[in-house]
């Protein structure tokens, strides 16, 4: 899956670089007192991309989205959406957004709220279609304040997709959903992306970025730490996991030799089993045979994005110290 989306992302970025970017941040900064939430951020999202915004709490994800949606004003730098100001893009109906902090009007039904969202959109869809697509048809007559967390998220999604918007922005959209709800949510989201929309989402669920996004932006302390496909991000973290067993119990001298293997970033020995993380697995394994050892059950696997992400962040923090 990740490989497939990677190719389509590259096609769309190379094919459309001349077009006006869906989103452009140019040296954008935003501080709250001493804290620089967003620090000289420069980036461009191209039409048709599905982009994940990844980062730990406090990385500046929500502030970035608020700036993008015109809910906050940058201290310096410029933010443009389809070449205009965020507010102009919203008024033109080009942006649909789902905020984590976006509350709902209470004491009204799901259908009433969705009809309102359709009425407020310059290029609306039929409310019945929006309800069906968001999986809300069955609970259309329920009061908004009587919904579960996952249902509330689906209502927010319906509000974000009430019309024919070109850019959809989602802030941690699957919070509060169970696994199956999450899967059906992303299936719906992919339909949006396949229809040629630009999708930007912030997430804590790193596997989502891996599975859904063409492109991953890693944000750390308000700055862009990495920008690439999920595969590239993993590679950038240098992260492959090598594991094998040795016939004999591993002694001190062997362990010292293992520790000296090239490109090794971590070593874990327990009994007969050795686990290694390496930034160049091919070279590490080659050198391993050079030691005259005979590894059995050799496995080389990519790290999950989560571990890659931890590694990138840790490396960045080490650099700053």
């Amino acid at each position: 899956m990740a490989v497939m989306t990677t190719t389509s992302a590259q096609a769309s970025t190379t094919g459309k670089t001349a077009a006006t970017p869906a989103v452009r941040f140019d040296q954008v900064s935003k501080a709250y007192g001493e804290v620089r939430a967003v620090d000289g951020l420069t980036l461009a999202l191209h039409p048709g991309e599905t982009v994940a915004l990844l980062g730990p709490n406090g990385a500046g994800k929500s502030t970035t989205l608020d700036l993008l949606l015109g809910l906050k004003q940058a201290d310096s730098g410029t933010v443009s959406v389809f070449g205009t100001s965020p507010r102009e893009a919203i008024v033109a109906g080009r942006v649909g957004a789902m905020l984590q902090s976006g509350g709902l009007m209470d004491e009204v039904t799901v259908a009433e709220l969705v009809r309102l969202a359709c009425a407020l959109h310059p290029r609306p869809y039929r409310a019945a279609d929006v309800l069906a697509r968001a999986g809300l048809a069955q609970i259309a007559d329920r009061k908004v304040n009587k919904l579960s967390g996952g249902q509330v998220q689906r209502v927010r999604f319906a509000l974000a997709t009430a019309g024919d918007s070109d850019l959809i922005v989602l802030d941690e959209p699957t919070t509060g959903m169970d696994v199956s709800a999450r899967q059906s949510f992303w299936a719906t989201m992919r339909e949006q992306a396949d229809a040629g929309r630009t999708v930007l989402f912030a997430t804590h669920y790193l596997e989502e970025a891996d599975a859904v996004a063409d492109r991953v932006l890693v944000l750390h302390r308000g700055r862009l730490l990495a920008d690439g496909t999920a595969a590239e991000i993993k590679a950038k973290a240098g992260a492959r996991r090598i594991s094998f067993d040795l016939a004999d119990e591993i002694a001190g001298t062997d362990e010292a030799a293992l520790r000296d293997l090239p490109f090794l970033t971590s070593l874990d020995v327990s009994g007969h089993t050795v686990r290694i993380q390496s930034s160049d697995a091919d070279a590490t394994v080659h050198a391993l045979y050079g030691l005259g050892l005979y590894p059995r059950n050799l496995e080389v696997a990519g790290l999950g994005l989560e571990q890659a992400f931890v590694a990138i962040t840790a490396a960045e923090e080490a650099k700053q110290k």
Partner: protein, 246 residues
Amino acid sequence: MKSLIKLELARALRNRKFLFFSVMYPSLLFLIIAGNADSTTKVDGTGLTLPTYMMVSMASFGALTAVLMGNSERIAKERESGWVRQLRLTSLPGRGYVLAKTASAAVVSLPSIVIVFVVAAAVKDVRLDAWQWLALTGAIWAGSLVFAALGVALGYLASGDAVRPITMIVYFGMSMLGGLWMPSTTFPDWLQNIAKWLPTHAYADLGRAIEQSSAPQAQDLAVLVASFVLFAGGAAWLYRKDTLKA
């Protein structure tokens, strides 16, 4: 924007507690206060009978309840829940939210005024000329905008748990001191001197001037206009502050 007004209105009409307090309660209070009063004794220095006097007070009180309560608490709550933020992601103009709230409150306040009039005419035989009924309805309805603006200001000023007590203090303080519950002529002199500068006092005075077929007093008009400018200006300032912060 029309769709938001419609939905706000549907929601207000569905809320029985709110409807009771803004639409029925003023009429009930009128019956309790004026119920046993005879229809000939005049309230000091006004030339109006107690039922006639209290009818304007209670109609003003009803309109005040509808617009002040309708705006302040809901705005504070919806600001906190993030609904206001969500609306800012739509093509609705920035002021649309506040205007829709005020418009729907005004729709609810109209029946509360009219019901007080109907009860007063039917039960306590209050009789006025046709132009006076119309002018009263118009003046009280239009005057309620002053307090709608105050409600918006309070909604953007306070948040969460603070908004209800603050609104209540303002609401009861203004109602009582403004002489909506009992004629302010019964107050000690020093309190009367304070009361006559309150917008609620000027508001009810405006209605009574119509009942007396006399021209409204310049001071009342000045107090109402100044209050409106103050409240609306405050609301606009707080709104802008909130928008930049959110």
